[in-house]
Symmetry: C2
Subunit: 220 residues, 2 copies
DNA sequence: TGACTCATGCTACACCGTATAGTAAGTTAC
DNA sequence: GTAACTTACTATACGGTGTAGCATGAGTCA
């Protein structure tokens, strides 16, 4: 009928990714198909392909959108090194949890893209100032990012995804086969996603900054 | 023509998951379709559905197969606590890297299934002995597992997946926008996946076992 | 007015997971 | 021996997916 509608702003990447994020947030990741996307934009399913080469590229835009939400402005420049590192890590996680249903997308893309690296930039400076070598700084940030991603993926399965969060708890395991798990469940409690994240982050930061570290320089 | 072929062993879950693992290892994860699986087994695509309810369940079997490869027998019971913890973590990672192309499956399933928890059992004992509370033990193992998973996902994108491992390196970023990244690349080097894993593992273990930890008991 | 480009619509293809139904071989009961 | 039943498959088909290829109308510029 009418390609190139008159008096209508043409599509652009920004509106496309905006619609995609809305679909993911409201209806879940599996609802995001090119047809559904076109419908949300009031447009033919193929229209998006003029602006985005394929669906993988759309996922990259989603990653970029999530990562652009990282707000490192709250890092207190006067705070001790370990605190600044933790604040950065929290900002990272907070941004990801702002779009919980997009988490599998993050796990499916490389984190060494410009979009994912941008919020990491300041953290590199923090660690380098702390006296780590360049190689160690890269390693530390890599490890930290991977820890955060792992935590978020765990959060997704435990809290977000309806398929994986039900009926898979510790407590329904066979106590004979899992004596220690059963014991932990009986004697302890689940501290919660946030508390566990902080627990691991604290350990990681102290291990990194609190004393002598493993050397990476001797490695071949 | 001939349902229930004569003189032929009927299918079972074991043969199905074996075929699935072969396809994943040889041709990659995206090659694993129910049709391809049927072909590999010399059988109609729908035949597998008699033994496995759906594809998600097939992925669960893949997760189980990978996790069953975790070999904790190498842990030296006489070694210091931190070493035993590290040995356990390495065994976990080694098993996962034995099937690198299956890594996205692991990231897509919950790790709180029996299959994923089985190799974790002994680690719980190690940490509990170390003097952590039950709650802290659970948190520590959760964090460690999430770190390992994150590291493996990173390994996948950096080393395994052909779509994400090319042209996405640090060094092709704009030095003006990424001064710290550029500096790290210039002054340091990439220590390698294994070295970075060990670096983070060492930090994590020392943070967990090497001194006063953050308390989880005060949390509401 | 006519050529050119832009942004979109339309159709179609190959592939996917899987619901449903049919059917041959093996097992059991009488 | 044969009929009923169960087991383990085959065959067909449906609705969904990403996307290649082509058509088409609007806007811009000569």
């Amino acid at each position: 009928m009418a390609p190139r509608k008159k008096d209508v702003e043409p599509l652009d990447r920004e509106r496309i990714v905006e619609a995609a994020m809305t679909i993911i947030d409201d209806e879940g990741l599996e609802a995001l198909s090119m047809r559904r996307l076109g419908a949300a934009l009031g447009v033919n399913p193929m229209a998006a392909y003029y602006h985005v080469p394929n669906k993988a590229a759309l996922y990259d835009l989603v990653l970029e959108a999530v990562m652009s939400g990282v707000d490192l402005s709250a890092i207190d420049p006067a705070a001790p090194l370990a605190d600044r590192l933790k604040q950065g890590a929290r900002a990272y996680r907070t941004a990801i949890l702002a779009h919980p249903r997009a988490i599998p997308v993050l796990a499916s893309r490389s984190l060494r893209t410009a979009a994912a690296l941008r919020p990491v930039e300041p953290l590199l400076g923090i660690l380098f100032e702390a006296g780590l070598t360049a190689t160690e700084t890269v390693a530390a940030v890599d490890c930290l990012a991977q820890y955060i991603l792992g935590v978020c993926v765990g959060y997704y399965h435990h809290t977000v995804d309806e398929e994986t969060n039900v009926q898979r708890e510790f407590d329904e395991l066979d106590p004979a086969e899992f004596p220690n798990v059963s014991r932990m469940v009986a004697e302890g409690r689940y501290a919660g996603a946030e508390a566990e994240f902080e627990f691991g982050l604290d350990a990681f930061a102290r291990g990194l900054l609190g004393g002598p570290r493993m050397s990476l320089e001797a490695t071949s």
